[in-house]
Each structure stands twice: as C-alpha cells, then as structure tokens.
Amino acid sequence: MHYALCLMLFMIGLYGVMVKRNLIKIIISLIIMESAVNLFLVMIGYRKDGIAPIMTKGMEAGTFAARAVDPVPQALVLTAIVIGLGVTAMTIAIAMRLYERYGTYDIKEMRKLKG
C-alpha cells in the first residue's frame, strides 16, 4: 500500500518529465521523482515499532540490535540527497543559459528557433 503510493508519486514525476513543455516544470518533475526514490529507499529499511539507529546511554546491545531500523539505506539516501542537489543546480544553470540564448523556457520554441 505505502509502496504503491510511493510508486504513484514517482509516476507523476515521470509523467511531468515526459509531457510538459516548460523547462522549469520538467526540472520540478525531476525533483519530485528524486524525492519519491529517496522516500522509497528509506521505507525499505523501516522496521515496525523500530527505533532510530542511534545508541543511547543504558541501552542493551541485544535490544538495540532487535529493534533498530536498517542504517545502510539511510546512509546511502543521505549521499543521494546531496548529489540530487548538485544535479538540480546543474540543470537549472543549463536552463538559465538556454533562456538567455532563446528568450523562452518553452522547449517547442527552442526547437523552432534552432531548426
């Protein structure tokens, strides 16, 4: 059920990337897809009634191992989020350059002007 909703969020983003004409809308759709994938990866590691993978004082190692959620997806999603910021900044820079060149964000107009 939750995975299906996550997939729906991803599909909305994919639809936006494939269908929209405005370059800014395409970038927004990319950001939505990114969020959906990150959320999905963290959801895979979730354990029911789990606790955050942080040792606190006076906690036994056995109960910690039995209840902590999976730390590896969380660490990798942390990496992916930062890389996503880099990708977004790069795409927006290219979009701004294209606007400067063609005077529009409409990808149809860009195609017409360039031939």
């Binding site: 191992a65 942390l78 990496t79």
Partner: protein, 189 residues
C-alpha cells in the same frame, strides 16, 4: 503511525499534481517544496533523523535557485502539451514502466519487515551489532557514512564539487572579463 504515513503520502501526491499541473510557475515551485517537506516529515516517521535534517537545507536551496531562475520570466504561460504522436509514445512508455513496477512489487519485502529481519548475514546486522565497538560512533548511520563506506562519502563530495564547477562554467558569460567592461551580473537581456 502507518495511517499517518499514508495521509502524508497522499498529501505529497496532491502537492505533486498541483506542482505539475498549475499554470502559475511560482505556485508550482512552492508546491514542489511542499513535497520536499512532506518527505522530510516522512523521514522522521521512518526513524531516520539524520536523513531528515539534511534535506531541510537542500529544499531551501532548491527553492532559492528555482525562484532565481524564474525571477524575470514574465507571466506568459504555455497551454497544451507536446505533440500528439509524442504523447501516445509517452503514454505507452509510462504504461510499460508501470507494469514492470507492479511485477516488481512481488519481490519486495512487506512494509515494516526489512531484509535484516530475515537475512542472518546481512551487512546491516554486523554494522548494528559491532558499530559502537569497531568505530566508536554511537550513531550507526554516521558510522556507516564515515567509516564503513567512507569512499562513498568521498565520491559524494567529489560529485558535489564537480557539479558546482560545472554550474559556474555554464552560467559564466565570458572566459575572462576585461577590466573596461561593465559588471556582468545580469544573465538576461
């Protein structure tokens, strides 16, 4: 708890639809930030506080950059989508991807029972059991990030700096500015 997760996901889906379908570009940008903050709250529900703190900064930065990109673009909106044949191909592709995803659902573990509950020799188990002893970090996510998989973090920093250099190289007007020329602060003519 699970109901709250479902409601949050529904909120994110609605915000995503608004972000993609609205005519007003500023409303679209703010809606996409709403999706991002929904993801952050979901991370807190998923017991991932480390992952939840970083995207707050990221979302605000993305908001600022997107508004900067659309600041002087007039209110001209384009109605309609791409051409008809392209739409058909797009819909067919979306459908194929959707079917593939539905098939993949069968192999997923059920929500709330991750792989570490079934696999006895999963690496996550070792990290949770020996993390404090081996690395001295009480936070296992930090232990994975900075000790067990430190090369990933090094690669992440490399990618980040490369993308910043790329963005500067793309945005910059001239390779070298002559001192007599006016200040290049405007990217729009």
């Amino acid at each position: 708890m699970l109901e709250m997760m479902g409601l949050l996901l529904l909120f994110m889906i609605i915000a995503a639809i608004v972000a993609i379908e609205t005519r007003d570009i500023l409303a679209a940008i703010i809606s996409v930030t709403a999706v991002g903050f929904g993801v952050i709250i979901a991370f807190f529900y998923m017991r991932a506080p480390d992952v939840a703190i970083v995207p707050i900064v990221v979302e605000v930065l993305v908001l600022v950059i997107l508004i900067r990109a659309t600041l002087r673009v007039g209110l001209k909106t384009f109605v309609g989508n791409r051409d008809f044949f392209g739409m058909m191909v797009t819909m067919a592709m979306l459908f194929v991807i959707f079917l593939a995803a539905i098939r993949a659902f069968n192999d997923l573990p059920t929500f709330g029972e991750p792989v570490i509950t079934r696999m006895m020799d999963a690496p996550s188990r070792l990290y949770i059991a020996n993390g404090l002893k081996e690395t001295g970090a009480a936070n296992i996510v930090t232990a994975v990030l900075l000790d067990y998989r430190a090369y990933d973090t090094l690669g992440e920093a490399t990618v980040l700096f490369t993308s910043i250099i790329g963005a500067i190289a793309v945005i910059r007007r001239k390779a070298r500015k002559k001192p007599s020329e006016p200040e290049v602060g405007e990217w729009e003519e």
